[in-house]
Symmetry: C2
Subunit: 234 residues, 2 copies
DNA sequence: GCAGGCTTTCGATAACTTATCGAAAAGGCA
DNA sequence: TGCCTTTTCGATAAGTTATCGAAAGCCTGC
């Protein structure tokens, strides 16, 4: 099984002409489009195969199980954890750091090809293959909990329980990504930017001891995100 | 097709002895237990049939499709709408009324036999059969939006956008019921009462202009719920 | 008492799903 | 030329929801 980006030169030819690129990447690309359009459970291996230009059984040469396609195309699940790890250890006021983490998390959830809860459902059915997902989630929870604790200790935040606040913040993030992704009829829908701001605004406002300068916190959070991105690139 | 609570006296006898009660109610009871234990998608008609004491194909005499079982056992979806309708039109301070509505909504979500998002997924695949669900959801959203607007107008709440605040409140409710129902490994789990309080506390605290008396709001909300329940019974 | 109708259950089966397996069809290489 | 590797394919197993006609009892009218 080669992993090049060019179509293979060996092997039995396809009935539907030759592949345009690497079969593996073609499959991932077409599967991503189908998952975005219809969700994971409603997308069949036969449909993925037809889009990718081969037969259903041939898919299993590249991915032994359907969920391995999902696992591959979502390898960087919840990578906002990287930003959280950087900002959690950074000095300075807490609110902008937490705002940046929350905003980045919702943005990632909204940008993913699959609803968070549908992904979680698949992961829960195959815990042995998705251990990294659960580890990342627990660690993101700890990072947010730590940021809240810093804010409480500094008097910047209300005297809340940090673990509860982290659970509420993540629950709100996940619940709002769902509203963005699958808006219910009769309730107005939101853009990704709007839900990111709504979620981060809501959590931060609930925590702040003094609510005078939300706009300043937003601006500082944007700077922090940009700075962390530059540092990550260098 | 009879609807009594006694086992039928007519019809071909079952291979596995006679039924103990109404076949219809037996099926609903057994399906409920299975949905609670394994979820809807992971429960098969064969399992429901085995638990209810008949064969898979015989289920279709009582319920033409699997989702009709779900629809029947969840007929009062989101009945916290009744409390919201009463309290939305009631005079007096807003915070206790909104707290009571939010608390009751989370309690109902946590008490239901199925995860809200899994139910919503089934409803979305069969909108014609679940129109009442979407109507109820939209109306609950409007009730909460109205309560928030009342609070803002009275100066009791921050000057937020009522529609956004309602979306965030419902998103938090749904996200936290998920954390109650399916806790992720590595993150501590909550009881139903704890998530109800966490969700309502979080939303109300974010909205309140002055946060001095959350305990008093909780107490007043409890009284309002009890009063509305009594009025509903009489 | 029994013939026909009604109610309920059953077995067989269709259509669709994920997944497995051996065979087939090429290129590369001795 | 003949064999090995890579890739694809068709056939098929096992599981799912759902349909259909037949079977097996009661009940009613006569």
């Amino acid at each position: 099984m080669t992993s090049d980006s060019a179509p293979p030169t060996v092997g039995r030819p396809r009935l539907s002409g030759e592949a345009t690129g690497s079969p593996r990447l073609d499959i991932i690309r077409e599967a991503t489009a189908l998952f975005v359009a219809k969700g994971y459970a409603e997308t069949t291996m036969t449909e993925i195969a037809r889009s990718a230009g081969l037969r259903q059984s041939s898919l299993y040469y590249w991915f032994a199980r359907k969920e391995l396609i999902l696992q591959t195309l979502l390898e960087e699940n919840r990578s906002s954890l990287a930003l959280a790890t950087v900002l959690e250890a950074q000095p300075g006021p807490v609110a902008p750091r937490l705002y940046a983490v929350l905003h980045a998390d919702v943005l990632q959830l909204c940008s993913a090809p699959l609803d968070f809860y549908e992904f979680e459902r698949v992961a829960r059915l195959q815990p042995q293959n998705f251990g990294a997902f659960f580890d990342d989630y627990a660690q993101l929870h700890r990072m947010i909990e730590s940021l809240v604790r810093q804010g409480v200790d500094a008097g910047e935040f209300d005297a809340v329980d940090p673990a509860d606040a982290a659970t509420a913040a993540l629950g709100l993030n996940e619940g709002l990504q769902r509203h963005y992704r699958l808006p219910l009829p009769g309730v107005l829908s939101y853009s990704a930017d709007e839900v990111c701001r709504l979620s981060a605004d809501t959590t931060i406002t609930r925590l702040l001891a003094h609510r005078d300068d939300l706009a300043a916190i937003r601006a500082a959070a944007t700077e922090l995100s940009a700075g962390a991105a530059e540092a990550g690139e260098s």
